[in-house]
Point group: C2
Chain length 336, copies 2
């Protein structure tokens, strides 16, 4: 893509053209020529959307909650962009299937745009691409961008970095308390949702979550990774004292119950972040982490380009034959 085409696409995006939006996202996902330029052009127009992360284990009804939340936000006059990240299906089909099911519910609404993203062999690449797609939706003028990820794991930590408000969804019958702690993602929640509260065990689930919130989690210590600040190095950053009391919202998303409370909680958390000034810290942390990720990738690519292909191949063979360990290999390649 030539320069003026990237420019035209971005201009059309800013003018509200939905085809330009879809084309830009595809461009970015494919890392096609012009993608970097388009991102640079639209970046000054970002920073207006409110970013909400939503995560929950399979079986909690997460996608249904996202759809119901979208309808509630639409009823309140907001436009909604949805990025559904599926890092667990690096292979095929998952994202597309998810899209198709969603589309049934939200099809035909011009105030909603949904994009599912599956990893294509590189989670680092996926995280970077997700950040970029969120920026495109932001520049396109969506009031709220929902970033949905599946399951438990690194994807949640990435959400916590990307979103201003992070919602963690639980449901009755998802396993015992130890497993709830193991799932661990409680720690990143600004808002907890217990979905399917029409099912047996719902009040037990709510009570268990409340007990966990009450014991030791009032003063949350936000650790984050991917830091680039040399003073702090690899150490966890200073605790960020955050007196937000995590609410537990009960929903039956299939019946559209509880969604008004959920949107109210999002609004309250947003107001809290703004009043406490934490919103700037969160944005800064996100930028710091994204910059670190991209620098790592760019530096490795440069090293590979600088060394002869045979040098790295030979090193891998030496490691495999136990002639050198990984740490020594890294030092040798850096010095070489």
């Amino acid at each position: 893509m030539m320069t003026h085409q990237a420019k035209t696409l971005v201009q059309n995006l800013l003018a509200g053209d939905r085809r330009a939006l879809a084309r830009l996202i595809t461009l970015i996902e494919n890392r096609a020529p012009g993608a970097a330029e388009a991102l640079a052009l639209l970046y000054p127009h970002t920073g207006r959307a409110y970013l909400v992360g939503i995560t929950g284990a399979p079986g909690t009804g997460k996608s249904t909650v996202v759809n119901a939340l979208t309808r509630e936000l639409r009823a309140r006059g907001q436009t909604v962009g949805i990025v559904a990240v599926d890092p667990t299906s690096p292979f095929s089909g998952g994202a597309v299937l998810g899209d198709r099911i969603r589309m049934r519910d939200l099809a035909g609404d011009k105030g909603v745009f949904i994009r599912s993203m599956a990893s294509r062999g590189s989670l680092g690449g996926l995280a970077a691409a997700t950040g970029d797609v969120v920026r495109v939706l932001d520049a396109a003028g969506f009031d709220t961008v929902l970033i949905e990820t599946v399951g438990a794991g690194q994807s949640e930590v990435d959400i916590a970095r990307t979103a201003y408000t992070t919602i963690v969804i639980d449901a009755p019958g998802m396993g015992d308390d130890v497993q709830a702690i193991k799932a661990g993602i409680l720690e990143i929640a600004d808002i907890l949702v217990v979905n399917k509260t029409d099912r047996p065990g719902a009040q037990n689930a709510v009570r268990a979550l409340r007990a966990m919130l009450d014991t030791g989690h009032r003063l949350r210590t936000i650790h984050h990774h991917g830091q680039i600040n040399p003073q702090r190095g690899g150490e966890p950053s200073e605790p960020e004292y955050d007196f937000w009391q995590v609410p537990i919202i009960e929903t039956v998303a299939t019946e559209h119950n509880g969604l008004d409370s959920l949107v109210d909680a999002i609004d309250q958390h947003r107001a809290h972040l703004r009043e406490s000034g934490v919103i700037q810290d969160r944005e800064r942390q996100r930028i710091e982490a994204e910059l670190a990720d991209r620098l790592r990738e760019a530096l490795l690519n440069r090293l590979i380009a600088e060394r002869s292909p045979g040098a790295i191949e030979a090193m891998i063979r030496r490691i495999q034959h136990r002639e050198i360990d990984l740490g020594s290999a890294v030092r040798e390649l850096l010095d070489g």
Copy 2:
């Protein structure tokens, strides 16, 4: 730690000293002085343990399966090292709690060593430390090392890189088919376990998994990330054709049912990998990915050391103020 102390620790480890084992692991987790040297010293003694990855969503009874599998391996005369990775609890308590529960079952058996690892703010750091701890257990002479991770996400892809045989655990009532696909980790399974088959819906779960295996997954295309081979660049590598037919093993781990079949399946997969020569490919891919991860980290640390602290701070502020986008910032820092 001085040179001769690292040396003594490694010598004691190789002589079977369990305190040396525990001390070395702590050394490595803390990235204490002497850790790099100890790893270099013990690396030539690695490569003998058989590495088995085990993963499954919360609620599948994964920890119970790991304990039962360990008892079965012990009954067959094998020693077992267990590394329980918990990337979802970067904060506190999770790993420790998990350990305590396990210890009840396997305490007092000298042929078993268990280590739980929680992320300390950096998943990259955790993945590197896990690889190192697995190498320590390998050098210590454990016949089998079980690497257990929670949930769905990047951790599973990392397991697939680290282990020769990857076991994915499912259970009845874990959500509908779409969610099973979303969980997606099926794709990395060499062996599928349906645990809790004494519960309602077990045969449906088995049938659903079998149907998914039958449609299109026989010829598995293994993508992997973190590639460093410059010829392949960021593209997925060539497909690795693997005619292993993924078995579905039914277990009731709490009753110790089905564990004999599971260990037999592991043995068969191991024989398959050896006969097909795929075992070398897997080890090579693991080394390639680990080397790439470590180079990325080392290169970023070097860049940070080379630039003035203020330069990176200033860049983060410029990005936050929308004066420059991330891609342009990376190019500027690399050239600077």
